[in-house]
């Protein structure tokens, strides 16, 4: 550790990162004979023992189907599954567990809203507003919906710092605007968007707002009521939980009026060949046997995060990011892509004319895992006129030493191309 980050260390002293790291078995390994430095948390974060054990316990001790049996195992599985829903309800501060729908991930949540709410509500000529910094998952479902309904897609541009141009947003809003889809924190740039203001402006025109919170949930306190979000989506695997599980939050009144997304078991109350009655919320949107272990694992991941405290996590990550940004700014030939005033722990960058893929391959040889590419946000790359960036994204188990290792690694990258 260098002397230069003493100030940040002061913040960090109240945060026992070494103890936290003990909970993450995957971090204690070497890659190409170097200790693993995992800086690809925005793509997917690692899992603490508590989550891994909870999933194992479910399969070893009480695996069975939920909401089906009267036997003890099924009762236990159902209890744990619904307990996870309650934890998530509290985590996002929803009013009711009926507003928490288990899905495969944020992507499925957005598709659910587009196909169920959007197809039901939109008329030809209606407008959907998204932004230039959206992840493909918050672009393509709306494009598909536009093709199906004749609605029109409008895009809020970004400036060169990677911030939304809200003045254009205000001009785009009108009586025809029905849906606004906006990313809470940009996975490609790190920008934290003013979603509360965006929602308020949309509501003035009676448009509903879907917030893609996949990148925000692991780093920020989420309060869907304070935001007045109509829909909020998140992915379990970015929140230290399992893959294949995610959440759609929706205001109860909206969800109540939406047609089911998929048909099958669980989502019905009564089936006959003349008429089928659908189940109540949240089950109406959970056709088939759900990802039970995933939901339980996500519940435990949320317990884990809340035990550390989102405020503590946020403060620590902020100090990590400040330290990384300072080093990045001083590093020769490095250009940071995404310099928003309000930014999360994501450092997207270019290094001279060295392609991001070459950076990624060489860093990997030193045990450093970063993401390289377009980050499923090709329009962002187009805005900055780059084919790809390298991206280091930090979680609360990352250390100041690891940031030093990253920049030492970048020096090695430069050596190769000298």
């Amino acid at each position: 550790m260098t002397d230069s980050h003493t100030a940040e260390q002061i913040v960090a002293t109240s945060f026992d990162v070494e103890r936290i790291r003990q909970d993450f078995p995957i971090l204690h390994q070497t890659t190409h004979n170097h200790p693993l430095v995992y800086l690809d948390n925005a793509a997917s974060s690692q899992k603490p023992n508590q989550v891994i054990t909870a999933i194992e316990n479910y399969y070893r001790q009480y695996h069975s189907n939920v909401h089906r049996g009267v036997h003890s195992l099924s009762e236990k599985a159902t209890h744990e599954y619904e307990l996870a829903r309650k934890k998530i309800k509290n985590f996002v501060n929803a009013q009711s567990t009926d507003e928490i729908i288990f899905v495969r991930g944020a992507t499925e949540a957005i598709n659910l809203v587009a196909q169920s709410y959007g197809r039901d509500q939109l008329q030809p000529g209606d407008e959907i507003i998204i932004s230039e910094m959206e992840h493909h998952s918050n672009i393509v479902p709306w494009q598909m919906l536009c093709e199906q309904t004749g609605a029109i897609l409008k895009v809020i541009p970004i400036n060169d710092a990677g911030e939304l141009d809200l003045s254009v947003y205000k001009e785009l809003l009108n009586e025809k605007t029905k849906i606004v889809g906006i990313i809470h924190i940009s996975n490609a740039l790190g920008t934290i968007n003013p979603v509360k203001e965006i929602i308020k402006l949309a509501h003035d025109y009676d448009a509903i707002v879907l917030v893609d919170g996949a990148q925000a949930a692991p780093h920020e306190i989420i309060d869907v009521q304070a935001l007045d979000a109509d829909f909020y989506t998140l992915s379990g695997h970015k929140l230290f939980g399992p893959t294949g599980i995610g959440i759609l939050y929706g205001k109860q009144q909206l969800l109540d009026n939406m047609p089911p997304y998929q048909g099958g078991g669980e989502m019905i109350r009564r089936v006959s060949f003349t008429k089928t009655e659908y189940n109540v919320l949240p089950h109406k949107f959970e056709a088939g046997t759900p990802h039970i272990s995933g939901a339980i694992g996500l519940g435990i991941a949320i317990d884990y995060v809340e035990k550390i405290g989102m405020d503590n996590i946020n403060r620590y990550e902020h100090s990590l990011m400040e330290y990384a940004t300072k080093q990045a700014e001083q590093f020769p030939d490095l250009t940071i892509i995404g310099t928003a005033k309000n930014k999360s722990s994501i450092l997207s960058f270019l290094l001279g004319d060295i392609h991001a893929h070459d950076i990624g391959t060489i860093l990997d040889q030193y045990g450093i895992a970063v993401r390289t590419g377009h980050h499923c946000a090709m329009p962002v790359m187009e805005h900055f006129q780059v084919p790809a960036t390298a991206r280091a994204s930090f979680a609360f188990y990352n250390t100041f030493d690891e940031i030093d290792t990253l920049f030492a690694g970048l020096n090695k990258v430069k050596e190769v191309f000298q």
Partner: protein, 149 residues
Amino acid sequence: MKDHIRELYQEVIIDHNRSPRNFHKMSDATCHAEGFNPLCGDQLDIYLTIDNETITDISFTGNGCAISTASASLMTEHLKGKTLSEAKAFFQSIHETLTNENEHATEKLGKMIVLAGVKEFPSRVKCATLAWHTLNAALKHDETTVSTE
């Protein structure tokens, strides 16, 4: 520097990345194709002039990593003046080398042997083969964009 890295980023590759050969658009090309690697956004265009079953001129433009740029550059250098059947045979050798289908294929690579280091980096094989797949498409007069996915 680690040997492993040097094996991938050999001097020849660094050199061809820094100063790619035949790097220009060809307005009177007889065939052309565009290649795209959606994983990393690498994109390139290959232009060929073919006269009497022989590649009389070949060039490329585009934007990619060191491996894909060097691979395209080396390819143009090597194929200029070759017959179409020689080019196809060479494509086969490169393909078999990089996909480990034929251990003797490397013997036919000549200077292009520098690309063989990519084998050790499975996620980068597509970077090296992009130019070759695009060439293949151009020779088939296929105007659609080829993708490595």
